[in-house]
């Protein structure tokens, strides 16, 4: 029977305890990781107090409902989690390089590492990165003032953050699950994993899953209902199109994950028999439901990257996107077909060959629209005014590496081949080969591209380029050897191995992992140098790259209301057309009062309550779990009785602010594409190429 106050929590639950009673390299790594979280947290509190930033943090960020602030907070969350995920990757590579007949970590600890690494990289890096980017960019691209449900947007961020917090807490108190990011039962059921690990996974997944579902609804409805007049569907920028497809996919793909996790929870907490070995349970139901989410998820995280590549290939070659209509159709086709292929994750599950063939063919069909896209981007570059900036380096890396990843995907789509290489490092190499050059390069390219818009200054270009090359080279060394290891027969998730032929490839992969770590450090340096030189790098007019779509027509950073007057859209690439016709930066004929949502602490309350609820459920501290649930319900009800949720910004204030900014634009010299990365770029583009 558990303690009524502390549940299952004991002194020995703290990760540092093992190191005290049984010091070893393994327990030192465990305790060290936990201490890093604690020290990081304390350092953050100290910085906030020392520089008296609490008030600013509260009023400018935590209570803000501005989609731009929320987007930035999502990306910050993702970068923090990515740091942990990359370090875990390096630790795993270091372990496997020493794992010939042993390794310095325990098998159990290694299993926790690959489980957290996968969970974090997919759900707390890729998802917040793309959600953050969409949050920031889409309202600006469609001429809207905010998301359609700004407070719900804040609540979504709160839920995602709460789930990320639970995963961080698992480093300090207790342990994480050991069944991989997909957490297959019956191994993760209460019979084989009675510890708290799977519970941390379950509640992190459920809480963030609900947040993400709400985000998907918000994005879809915003794009359907908040577009500026004249912004027809076929005039939307491609990034907005991919955001729409991703949003629709989120709405339909997240519920299966929520359900399968909750069913696993029922199995573990209340002795249900969905996925147990006995009494009519069937774990194959879990595999099916999980991958009904899992496969669409792969395309959820990659479609926005395709959107970014569409934007940057057009902008950095100063050309209209080639094959706009085919790109739209290809995006939609991928979104739909991706719901019909989930079984290729479980080809070896035991169904008939004809079922496998059907799913194998569907999988191969996805390559067709993806190929269309790649040709369209290459055709966009063809005879363009191309500049090889950092985002373009990511695009080039993507072209070559993602093609390779896609081809190995085609190989795996053949069930007969899959039977040979499934569960081997070949598979690990394949999905890293699509997720890193696809999703991650896309997101990093997007961050470089839109950073000046968000903060008003560019990122230091030379360091950005160095980081991009390090990512590409590091990726090649870290993951291409894994194809070979897979073909040699090395299973994935092996804590140790006995075949010495694996060793040289493992060491090569470790070199790659350190190169990626170098890329991460270079990015930190880039951030530091960019902030230091922000005055020289400043682009207040907001159009440093001769952008084509509406977000570049406003200041950097944009005002809280984005557009002083709602733009009237007459064509695709509306801002490029305005510039080409010589009439950008016009005052509006008429300014109107606008309504904006008031700041609120709702999202923060939900975040704290959901964290407490999750922690209480994990440790079976029932009073805390109930308290958390009641706090969430109460905050929703109390909120529904508030009537002071909106405020009016007057037309005269908007007119004044817009007038001031237009004066500033008029007094800023424009630069051509030749001087784009020089300090002379103040964010006003001279139109030197008209296409």
């Amino acid at each position: 029977m558990n303690d009524p106050i502390f549940g299952r929590l004991e002194w020995s639950s703290f990760s540092v305890h093992e190191f005290i009673v049984d010091p070893s390299i393994n327990s030192a790594v465990v305790a060290g990781a936990g201490m890093m979280v604690v020290i990081g947290g304390i350092a953050l509190l100290w910085v906030l107090s020392h520089y008296r930033l609490w008030g600013k943090l509260w009023s400018d960020w935590l209570t803000s409902v501005d989609h731009k602030k929320i987007g930035i907070m999502y990306i910050v969350l993702a970068l923090v989690m990515m740091t942990r995920g990359v370090i875990e990757g390096v630790v795993m590579r270091a372990h496997q390089a020493t794992a010939l007949g042993g390794g310095f970590l325990s098998a159990d600890h290694f299993a926790q590492l690959f489980s957290t690494h996968g969970t974090i990289m997919i759900l707390f890096v890729a998802m917040p990165l793309l959600i953050g980017l969409i949050n920031y960019v889409v309202p600006l691209q469609i001429g809207a003032r905010d998301m359609i449900f700004p407070v719900m947007n804040q609540v979504s961020l709160g839920l995602t953050t709460a789930a990320a917090a639970l995963i961080m807490i698992s480093l300090v108190i207790g342990r994480f699950e050991t069944g991989g990011w997909s957490a297959y039962p019956p191994y993760t059921g209460s019979v084989f994993s009675p510890d708290v690990g799977p519970d941390y996974w379950i509640w992190a997944i459920v809480i963030s899953g609900i947040g993400t579902t709400l985000t998907g609804i918000n994005f879809a409805v915003t794009i359907y209902k908040s577009r500026a007049p004249g912004m027809h569907f076929m005039r939307m920028p491609l990034f907005t199109w991919t955001a729409l497809c991703t949003a629709i996919m989120i709405v339909y793909a997240m519920p299966p994950l929520t359900v399968s996790s909750l069913m696993l929870a029922l199995d573990r907490y209340l002795d249900f028999h969905f996925f147990t070995n006995d009494l009519g349970g069937n774990m194959m139901n879990y595999a099916n439901i999980f991958w009904m989410f899992g496969h669409p998820e792969v395309h959820i995280v990659v479609l926005p990257a395709y959107g970014v590549f569409s934007e940057i290939s057009a902008t950095y070659s100063a050309k209209r996107l080639y094959g706009y209509r085919s790109l739209v159709i290809a995006t939609m086709a991928i979104a739909i077909i991706s719901f019909t292929v989930w079984l290729h994750h479980v080809f070896t599950m035991g169904q008939s060959a004809s079922v496998n063939i059907a799913f194998g063919i569907a999988t191969m069909v996805i390559a067709v629209p993806t190929g269309v896209k790649v040709y369209d981007w290459m055709a966009t570059l063809y005879r363009g005014r191309v500049r090889i900036t950092a985002p373009m380096i990511y695009l080039i890396g993507f072209f070559i590496l993602f093609m390779a990843g896609g081809l190995t995907g085609m190989i795996l789509a053949n069930p007969t081949v899959d039977f040979q290489v499934h569960n081997s490092l070949f598979l690990v190499a394949h999905f890293h080969n699509v997720l890193i050059p696809g999703t991650l390069f896309g997101m990093l390219a997007g961050i470089h591209y839109w950073f000046p818009k968000a903060f008003g200054f560019r990122l230091a270009e030379h360091l950005a380029r160095r980081a991009a090359w390090l990512w590409i080279i590091g990726f090649c060394f870290a993951f291409l050897p894994l194809y070979w290891l897979g073909l040699l027969g090395m299973p994935r998730r092996s804590a140790s191995f006995t075949d010495p032929t694996f060793l040289p490839w493992m060491i090569l992969a470790l070199v790659g992992a350190f190169t990626i770590l170098g890329a991460l450090v270079t990015m930190v340096q880039m951030g530091w140098v960019s902030i230091r030189d922000r005055d020289q790098l400043a682009v207040p007019v907001g159009d440093p790259w001769d952008g084509r779509t509406l977000e570049w027509s406003v200041a950097a950073p944009p005002s809280e209301w984005n557009f002083a007057a709602t733009p009237d859209v007459h064509s695709i690439d509306a801002f490029a057309v305005e510039k080409a016709s010589g009439r950008p930066y016009q005052p509006a004929l008429q300014y109107e009062d606008i309504e904006m949502a008031n700041p609120t602490a709702m999202g923060l309350v939900v975040c704290v309550a959901a964290t407490l609820m999750g922690f209480g459920l994990v440790w079976q501290i029932w009073w805390l779990a109930i308290l958390g649930i009641l706090a969430i319900a109460t905050s929703v009800i109390v909120r529904s009785f508030r009537t002071d949720t909106k405020r009016i910004i007057s037309a005269s204030e908007l007119k004044q602010a817009h007038g001031n900014w237009l004066d500033r634009v008029a007094n800023t010299p424009a630069v051509t594409r030749d001087e784009e990365i020089s300090f002379r770029n103040r964010g006003r583009s001279a139109v030197d190429v008209v296409r």
Binding site: F149, V221, Y252, S260, L270, H273, N282, I289, M292, S640
Partner: protein, 207 residues
């Protein structure tokens, strides 16, 4: 969509002014949410069907289901959809008679409470006969599916209580009207799900 119909389902109509125009994105968003919610139920329906043979030697539908009680529950829930329909019509056409609106909502809530009472008593008697969720995979799927619907009804009741309070505090402000429209969609949606449960779980179970 025409000027009169800004969103699927019952529209308040232009005579309601702000409440009508502001309902467009909110109601559309709520439809999207319901579609997402429907996936939850869809997965549980599929699981239920896939596990219908997983009784593991325990009691099955023949021993456990009480069709008389299910018929009463179905009647109560369908009737509550009708009474909510009257509440919606009062809201749209007869705004002045706020008391009628309140009465229809209270009758709807009362029917839902009766439904839950019968459902709880069914659960109780099933458990008495050994039909507990931990007995078999089939029973796990049964309780998850029917239980999720029950939880939705409880949330709906809580929502109705909040709306009754808000009508009293704010009158029929545009927010209150839009929320009543959403509650209406939610309520009819739960009825539809129940029709699915009635057919797939209960009728197919004993047929």
């Amino acid at each position: 969509m025409t000027i009169e119909n800004l969103h699927p389902g019952l529209n308040l109509g232009a005579a309601h002014g702000e409440a009508h125009t502001r309902s467009e994105p909110v109601i559309f968003g709520f439809w999207v949410f319901l579609m997402s919610d429907l996936i939850l139920f869809g997965i549980l329906f599929a699981t239920y069907v896939a596990m219908s043979n997983g009784t593991a030697g325990g009691p099955g539908p023949q021993e456990l289901f009480n069709l008389t009680s299910i018929a009463i529950q179905t009647g109560l829930l369908l009737l509550s959809s009708l009474t909510f329909g009257f509440a919606s019509l009062t809201l749209k056409h007869d705004e002045g008679r706020r008391r009628h609106l309140l009465i229809w909502l209270i009758i709807t809530a009362a029917l839902a409470v009766a439904f839950l009472g019968f459902e709880a008593s069914d659960f109780h008697s099933m458990m008495q006969k050994g039909g507990v969720p931990s007995r078999s995979g089939w029973l796990s799927a049964y309780y998850a599916l029917v239980g999720l619907h029950g939880i939705h009804i409880i949330i709906g009741l809580l929502w109705m209580a909040v709306m009754l309070a808000q009508i009293s505090v704010f009158g029929l402000s545009y927010q209150v009207k839009v929320r009543l429209l959403m509650l209406g969609l939610y309520w009819h949606f739960l009825d539809l799900v129940w029709v699915g449960i009635f057919s797939i779980v209960f009728l197919a179970g004993v047929a």
